[in-house]
Symmetry: C2
Subunit: 247 residues, 2 copies
């Protein structure tokens, strides 16, 4: 069996997220597995994603891996995938990896970007990729709050995971808040890994800081208490994109 | 009657172009006129566009004008339009103009951009806005051809208009051919006005130069002979966008 790693882009709008569902779901993983199954004649090709993006979340640089018994070159596998994938999913790179490589276990970090359309004017060309929040936001307050989130912390208050067994400690290496043009604010999160819903809850909380509903200093209290109900709202999926997986 | 000028953006994918059609057509002009009619209670509000974009062509800065008997502020008219327009059409600016201003007759020039996706990798996020042409293109040859098109010429060979009465002389002030990232080539046309299909036929012809099917020097012959059938193919609508109307 040969071990392949691909880099993928997708517009999440039409999909129920990355992960294959028990029965009917329209998922990115499901699409890839079906096409690779057709290519090799093997029914149960398994594709592992570096991260499981939620329904509606986009990817500019998702990584995924799979093992195949095939004579095709990596370039031929990429071409086959792109030939049969719908046009809102595309493979932009492929590489053959050592047998032991695992795209989720060996990922050292990820970068996500959240886009806020901070204008009353309509985002005609960006509408599928931004959260429309036209009210004024205090970016300096958001940056002060963000500075308190950077570092290694227990992010239990910022995840929707119910089970309490696994560690909720993660490291945010960088959290940049920048304007992009006159109408957009982008939050870029770089970290070693992110919990379920973590980027969207952090973003929802930072928006509440920007709107004046919370003080930046509350971030330290939220990290300390670990209570989801004290953190902010879950920001909408469509503003979020997985930009890069680092190895 | 007060005279308004608006700046519009639209994704042309779903529309049969700018111009209202006799009966059923789904057009940008038709949408605007219907909403302004509803706002004022006047059945026959007429909206004039600075240019008539074809079916599938996009706009980042189309200009349009209309006269209304209304007490609303310009900002309220903009808000009303955006409230009722579908999300692939948006008004990004409005201005009240002197009575004699006419947005088509007073336009001094326009800028169009044509985007070529010059890669075999899929344009997942750009797929609605680019023409996919993965074969290699000789950009230097295209630039030599473009240089021959700049200036004041009879562009009769580069239009689909059948009627021979109106002047087909136009001035291209600038024609830039640039790479954008590793996978895209953009052609930016700035001129005093453009004939029906002119940008798309010029682009189709320049692509044939880039592919090696034509010599750059042929541009002079095409301008001189004025025969549509000697010029290149009509490039697809979806790669084209009206960027700006100058006054």
């Amino acid at each position: 069996m040969r071990n392949f790693k691909i880099i993928l882009q997708y517009e999440g709008t039409r999909y129920q997220g990355w992960q294959r569902q028990a029965s009917t779901g329209n998922t990115i993983q499901g699409k890839l597995e079906a096409i690779l199954g057709k290519m090799t004649g093997v029914e149960a090709v398994q594709v592992d994603g570096a991260g499981r993006t939620d329904a509606g979340v986009h990817a500019y640089g998702q990584a995924a891996g799979f093992k195949l018994d095939t004579d095709r070159t990596p370039e031929a596998v990429l071409a086959y995938l792109n030939q049969y994938l719908p046009e809102d999913i595309g493979v932009i790179a492929i590489e053959e990896m050592p047998e032991r490589f695992h795209c989720r276990l060996h990922a050292r970090g990820k970068t996500y970007r959240y886009r806020i359309w901070n204008s009353a004017l309509p985002p005609v060309f960006e509408r599928r990729y931004v959260y429309e929040y036209p009210q004024p936001l205090d970016i300096e307050a958001m940056r002060r709050a963000a500075a308190l989130l950077v570092g290694t912390h227990d992010f239990k208050a910022f995840t929707s995971t119910k089970k309490g067994k696994k560690s909720t400690v993660r490291t945010i290496e960088e959290l940049r808040i920048e304007t992009a043009g006159e109408r957009e604010i982008q939050l870029t999160y770089r970290g070693d890994g992110f919990l379920y819903h973590m980027v969207r809850i952090l973003t929802g909380t930072l928006i509440e800081v920007g709107s004046g509903a919370r003080r930046p200093e509350e971030m330290a209290e939220l990290l300390a208490c670990g209570l989801r109900e004290r953190a902010g709202a879950l920001a909408p999926a469509k503003g979020l994109a997985l930009m890069e997986v680092r190895y």
